[in-house]
Amino acid sequence: MRAALILATKDLKIELRSKEVVSSMFLFSLLIVIAFRFAFAEAVDSGALSLEDLAASSLWICFSFATIVGMHTSFAKEKDRETLEGLMLCPVDRSALFLGKALSNLVLVFIVDLLSILFFGLFFAFDYDGHAVEVVGVALVGTVTLVLVGTLVAAISVNARAREVLLPILLIPLIAFSVIIPCVTATRNAIAGELTESVRDIVSIAGFALIFGAVGYLSFDYVLEG
C-alpha cells in the first residue's frame, strides 16, 4: 500500500511539473463540450433537448474520452522513456503498481471531471439546478470504476502495436454497461434532485468497481511481466 502511494505521488509530482496530461485531457474534454454545443445548438435553443439530458450524456462522454487519453499516456510514457522496466524491477508487488497507477489516474481524471463540470456549467449557463455537489459525487463514483478498468486495459494494450486505437476498442465495450449507462441515469437523477432513485445504479457501478479492481489487482502480475 505504501508502495502504491509512493508511485502515485511520483506520477502526480511529474504531472505537477509538466502539467502535460491534465492539460491535454482537459483540452480534449473542453473540445468535446464545445463540439456538443455546436452539434446540438438548434436542439438546445429550440428546447427540443433539455440541458439536463445534454449535461448528463455529454459529461459522461467527456469523462470517458478524457479517461482514454489519460490512461493511454499513463503507461505509454513509461514505456517510451523505458522507465517501465525500472518500475517492474522495483522490489514491490505488481499489484501495488496497479493500485498506484490507478490512484494517480483517479486524481488526474477527477480533476478533469471537475473542470469539465465547471466549464459545461459556464458554457451553457447551467447551474445543475442547484445539485452540482451530487453531480460531482456521481462523477467520483463512476470515475473510480472507469479508472480501475481503464488502468488495467491501458496496461494490457501498452505492448500492442496499434495501442492508440486499441485502447478505446478494448475499453469502450467494457464500460458501456458498467459505467456509461448507469452513470448517465444517475447524473440525470442527481440533477433532478432525485438521487435516491438511482441507488441501484450506484450500487451496480460500485459492484463493477469491485469486479474490475479485483481482476486488476490479481492479474496485474501477469500483465506486466517479461
Partner: protein, 370 residues
C-alpha cells in the same frame, strides 16, 4: 494420426446432426400458435388474468398523418369495436352508463409492434403486426355483441383498431421466420459456451504457462465470435416479422449481446496486434478474463427483464408453458448438433493453430525472417 480420425467422425456426426436440425425445423415443427386468443376468450377472461391480443392494425385513426407523435401515450383498453363506439358516443353525450359496454382497461406488460416504452414512437401504421399483453384490471363486460375486432385507445382522439374479425385472432400463428429460432438459440448458447472455454483456458494458461491452453483460449474465442455473429444476424430476421423492426436499441438482451461481441472482437484485435507469443498469450489471457464480465450480463438480461427492459423471449424454463413437445425435441437436437459442431471446429482450429506454430518454428530454423 489418431486425432485426425476422431476429427473425421466428428465432422460426419456434426454434419448429419445439423442437417437433421434443418430438416426438423423446416418440415417437422409446426409454427407455434403463440399467445393467440380468440376474441371471445378475451372478452370472457376474468379480472387479473393476463391476456395477449395479436393482430394487424387495420385502422389507424390519426388526424395529422403520418403515424403518431412521440409524445402520445397509449391508454390501453381493449374493447369490442362496436361497443367501444357506443362507449365513446355515450361519453360525448354525457350519458355514461356503467356495465353496458365492453371496455377492459389493461395493465400492460408488453407491447410489440416496433415500439417499447409508454410512448408511441410514430412507427405504427396500417398493417403493422402488433401484440399487446396485459393484465385485465377491470372487467366492464356489458351486453356482449359479436366481437368484430379490438381497439387500443390512444390519448386524445387518436385510436388504433386491431384485427377485423374474431377469426383473425383465433388462427394467428407466429411468422415463418420463427423457424430461425432453431439456429438462433443454439448459436447464442454456443457463443456463451465458447467464451466460457476462453475464460477457463485463460485461467489455466496463467497458472501453468502451457502454450496449449493459449491455443484453446484463442481458438474458442474465434469460434465464439463466429457463433455470436450468427446469433446477432439471425435474430433480426425474426425480429423484423415479429416486432416490425430489425433491431431495438431499447432491448437489453440485444445491446448486451452486441457489446459482448465487441469485447471479443477487441480480444481478437489485441492478439493480432501483438507479435511476441509469450506476451500476447499473457495479456490476451487477462483480457479474456476481464471480458467475460459481459457474458453473464448478456445471458441473464432477459431473465431480469423487469429490471432492465427486454422484450426478448426467454427460452429456458419460463412459467408460461414454454415449448411444445415437437419444438422441444427440435431445440434439443439443435443444441446437441451445434455443441458437437462447436467441439469439432474447436479441435480442428486448435490443430491449425498448432500447425501454424510449427511453421513459424520451421521458418525460424531455416533462418529466414519469420
Amino acid at each position: 494420426m489418431r486425432t485426425e480420425r476422431v476429427g473425421k467422425y466428428l465432422i460426419a456426426v456434426s454434419a448429419i446432426l445439423v442437417l437433421l436440425t434443418t430438416y426438423l425445423a423446416i418440415f417437422y415443427v409446426p409454427l407455434p400458435a403463440t399467445s393467440v386468443r380468440s376474441a371471445n376468450d378475451i372478452l370472457s377472461s376474468l379480472d387479473g388474468n393476463s391476456i395477449t391480443v395479436v393482430g394487424f392494425i387495420v385502422d389507424l385513426k390519426v388526424t395529422p398523418p403520418p403515424g403518431l407523435d412521440a409524445s402520445e401515450r397509449i391508454n390501453f383498453t381493449l374493447a369490442d369495436f362496436s361497443d367501444y363506439q357506443r362507449y365513446r358516443g355515450a361519453i360525448s353525450d354525457g350519458v355514461l352508463e356503467e356495465g353496458w359496454w365492453t371496455v377492459r382497461p389493461l395493465d400492460v406488460l408488453a407491447f410489440t409492434g416496433g415500439w417499447t416504452g409508454p410512448y408511441l414512437g410514430g412507427i405504427l401504421s396500417n398493417g403493422t403486426n402488433v401484440s399487446v399483453t396485459g393484465v385485465v384490471t377491470a372487467g366492464a363486460v356489458g351486453p356482449n355483441s359479436a366481437a368484430t375486432g379490438f381497439h387500443i385507445g390512444v390519448s386524445g382522439s387518436r385510436n388504433v383498431d386491431i384485427g377485423t374479425s374474431a377469426a383473425e385472432f383465433s388462427i394467428m400463428t407466429a411468422p415463418v421466420a420463427q423457424k430461425i429460432f432453431y439456429f438462433h438459440m443454439p448459436s447464442a448458447w454456443i457463443c456463451y459456451l465458447a467464451f466460457f472455454v476462453t475464460l477457463l483456458s485463460s485461467v489455466f494458461y496463467l497458472k501453468t504457462r502451457n502454450p496449449k491452453y493459449d491455443r484453446w483460449a484463442f481458438s474458442a474465442a474465434e469460434l465464439g465470435v463466429l457463433f455470436a455473429t450468427l446469433a446477432i444476424l439471425t435474430g433480426p430476421i425474426w425480429a423484423k416479422q415479429e416486432w416490425g423492426v430489425y433491431w431495438r436499441w431499447q432491448d437489453t438482451k440485444l445491446t448486451t449481446t452486441f457489446v459482448l461481441w465487441l469485447v471479443y472482437i477487441g480480444y481478437l484485435m489485441l492478439r493480432a496486434s501483438m507479435q511476441e507469443p509469450g506476451a500476447r498469450a499473457r495479456v490476451a489471457a487477462v483480457y479474456g478474463i476481464v471480458g467475460f464480465v459481459t457474458v453473464p450480463m448478456s445471458l441473464l438480461s432477459s431473465r431480469i427483464a423487469p429490471l432492465l427492459r427486454s422484450g426478448h423471449p426467454q427460452v429456458i424454463a419460463t412459467s408460461s408453458g414454454g415449448l411444445s413437445p415437437e419444438s422441444g425435441l427440435t431445440v434439443g437436437i439443435a443444441v446437441v448438433a451445434f455443441t458437437v459442431l462447436f467441439i469439432t471446429m474447436l479441435i480442428k482450429r486448435v490443430e491449425v493453430a498448432e500447425s501454424e506454430e510449427e511453421l513459424e518454428e520451421l521458418k525460424r530454423e531455416v533462418g529466414g525472417e519469420a
